[in-house]
């Protein structure tokens, strides 16, 4: 494998990682602060993509679509929190899983009803289309570099929000003791709605960004949701820092596994068998990684409640 290809694949892994981080951040925040398992997080990701595709298609501006997608997902998140999830904080996790699974069905059918069963078309903006040359000669799509930049930017903003602002202080307080901050006079209901909307908005932002890479269709959120759960389990449930490290780890391991395993097997197998076996193992690799991390650190890499 040449250096250029290696660099390109590492960038691919990082890009997948930052996308996963944007989705996982909301999931881990909601779990950390409210103790809620939200299976419908993938639906908010889908909402962002659909609204972005629709607005971009209507107005012709990807940027308007991107903003609208993130805002719509945040608004949908806030509404869902106020109408449904608020009643579930004191229930056990099984009830939460059941209710949020029902939300997946509602969102999927709703999207099909509003936007139709056909996948929507969303193109990357003209300013970000095309490719740049990497050192070593390979070309790399500008849009993917922009995703990496946007993801890292969002991670920095989130970090600043949580560690430098009053809202962040309340979120952290809510993570460690929710009764106590309620007793201290913080409006915990509004705080929860805000946190949920923030997580939903990040997922919607991620969905809108990814929508331009793939097809915007019903059910696009669920595969991402599964990966996001793997990320937060690896990173330590409730920890945003853990989600960042976990997401990059999953992104790079998944990408490199897909490339290196078939290559490795082809040293002692015929190529068509090697690609089959390699691909099968590569799709398991992140779960093996998760199991390994859990054996080593059962609370994840950065446990939130050390």
């Amino acid at each position: 494998m040449t250096l250029a290809l290696l660099v390109e694949q590492i960038l691919n892994g990082v890009q997948l990682g930052v996308m996963l981080f944007l989705t996982a951040a909301g999931l881990t925040l909601v779990f950390g602060v409210m103790g809620l398992i939200n299976l419908a997080h993938g639906s908010l990701f889908m909402t962002g993509a659909f609204v972005c595709a629709w607005v971009a298609g209507t107005t012709g501006s990807f940027w308007l679509g991107l903003g609208a997608g993130a805002l719509a997902a945040a608004a949908a998140g806030a509404v869902v929190e106020m109408l449904v999830l608020r009643r579930l904080y004191d229930r056990d996790h099984l009830d939460q899983v059941l209710a949020t699974f029902a939300l997946i069905l509602v969102f999927s059918e709703g999207a099909r009803w509003i936007f139709g069963p056909q996948p929507l078309w969303l193109d990357a903006p003209a300013a970000l289309s095309g490719a740049v040359s990497l050192p070593g000669g390979a070309a790399y799509p500008i849009y993917r570099l922009a995703i990496i930049g946007a993801g890292i930017g969002a991670a920095l903003l989130l970090w600043a929000l949580i560690s430098r602002t009053r809202l962040g202080m309340r979120i952290r307080a809510g993570e460690s003791d929710r009764e106590m901050i309620g007793a201290l006079g913080v409006d915990i209901r509004t705080l929860y709605t805000l946190v949920f909307a923030l997580g939903a908005g990040l997922a919607g932002f991620a969905g809108a960004m990814v929508g331009a890479l793939q097809s915007v269709q019903v059910g696009m959120g669920e595969p991402v949701l599964i990966l996001a759960f793997v990320v937060i389990v690896i990173g330590g449930i409730g920890s945003v820092k853990g989600a960042f490290v976990g997401a990059l780890l999953v992104g790079v391991v998944d990408t490199m596994g897909r490339v290196l395993l078939p290559m490795g097997f082809s040293n002692f197998m015929p190529p068509s068998e090697a690609s089959g076996v390699g691909a099968a193992l590569a799709s398991m690799l992140i779960y093996v990684l998760m199991a390994g991390v859990l054996v080593w650190r059962p609370q994840g890499l950065f446990p939130a409640h050390g």
Partner: protein, 378 residues
């Protein structure tokens, strides 16, 4: 002798109006992922029934939601409760495998408008099972043959890691015969192909052949174009029907794909069908629509000759004779009731309205028969 035959024919024709009502069960995918395939098949099928203007044919429509268990229970209901004599409609091979063997064993005729798994074409063939579309390998084989004839020597081939994906690459290699520059199986449902695209670029391939149905193909094509790789792309028609092209956009322009029918085929029946379909539904028919239309035409033509309820042998012979005006031009079945047909190559071009569409550019295989026909003992 001649008069005897003529008398028999006259008797059959005279008997035709007296034929009791025939019920056709149409189970297809009308909701969820892949529903545009089922909707196009259904719409074209109903168009043919409507054009025939027959009131002795009832079509009972059911939505399988692309779930094998749903399809199976719908089929049982149609056979036992509604007593259908003919069934059709299934798009996806895993659903066909759940429904077809059981249905034909119960004496129902099954005429497939799309799914053509190898298991039903070879040893598992059945006298009551007909496939109007193709055996699943055919379009991949055709592309292999075409790319070989084009003088390409080092294709990079990829497909999802599931049975149809493996069949696809096997079918491709059966006709391409030479070595490939690289071969990759991706995860089923994968949406990010950055790693594979980087491999393609680094592999030194002179062409790419891919089979990624549905959303996977849309994602691959968009990312492939964005990555500015200039290796030409080839594939079966499944990722380039007019509805998917709408989602892929200009990224697909220049791609060559193989299909057994295309909407600009120079056959009068085809032109009439395309015009009627556009007029009724306001869109360009996909290959699935074409297959649904031919399926209905075949069934209706056979119904003119024999009633499946009272004369199953006659109906079977009438289906096998396939005397109907196919939009593919000449149409005939091989011994395993799968078509022997020409397979064409189309190129994606910008249409008159600026939207990408398919244009016929050549023939990949003439009178092609599937590789499993010899294993079929009926």
């Amino acid at each position: 002798m001649k008069t005897l035959v003529a008398a028999a024919v006259a008797a059959v024709i005279a008997a035709a109006p007296a034929i009791a009502e025939t019920k056709i069960g149409l189970i297809t995918t009308l909701s969820g992922g892949g529903s545009h395939l089922g909707i196009d098949t259904r719409d074209a099928f109903m168009l043919a029934v409507e054009q025939a203007g027959r009131d002795d044919v009832t079509v009972i429509e059911k939505d399988d939601a692309r779930k094998p268990d749903v399809a199976k229970s719908l089929a049982d209901e149609l056979i036992q409760k509604d007593k259908v004599q003919v069934m059709t409609g299934i798009i996806f091979s895993n659903l066909a495998m759940a429904v077809v063997p059981g249905a034909v064993r119960q004496g129902v005729f099954y005429v497939s408008p799309n799914a053509g798994p190898s298991a039903l074409a070879g040893k598992g063939c059945h006298e009551n099972y007909f496939n109007v579309a193709y055996q699943n390998d055919n379009l991949h084989e055709a592309m292999g043959a075409y790319m070989k004839a084009e003088g390409l020597t080092a294709p990079f081939i990829l497909a999802p890691n599931y049975p149809a994906g493996k069949d696809s690459l096997t079918g491709f290699k059966r006709m391409f015969e030479g070595d490939v520059a690289g071969e990759t199986y991706t995860k089923l449902g994968q949406t990010d192909y950055a790693a594979e695209i980087a491999q393609i670029r680094a592999s030194g391939a002179d062409s790419v052949f891919f089979f990624l149905p549905g959303g996977m193909g849309i994602a691959f094509m968009k990312q492939y174009t964005a990555a500015a790789v200039d290796i030409p792309v080839y594939g079966p028609a499944f990722s380039f029907d007019e509805i998917i092209l709408g989602a892929v956009g200009d990224a697909a322009i220049g791609v060559k794909n193989s299909a057994e029918w295309t909407h600009d085929l120079d056959v009068p029946a085809s032109k009439a069908f395309v015009a009627a379909f556009k007029e009724k539904y306001g869109r360009v028919p996909t290959i699935y629509a074409g297959q649904g239309y031919d399926t209905a035409k075949l069934i209706l033509a056979a119904l003119d000759k024999a009633d499946p309820a009272t004369d199953p042998d006659g109906f079977r012979a009438a289906l096998a004779a396939a005397e109907f005006e196919s939009i593919r031009g000449a149409f005939r079945f091989g011994p395993n009731h799968h078509p022997i047909q020409d397979i064409y190559v189309r190129e994606v071009v910008a249409g008159p309205d600026g939207k990408p569409t398919n244009k016929l550019v050549g023939v990949a295989l003439k009178d092609h028969q599937d590789a499993y026909a010899a294993d079929c003992k009926m």
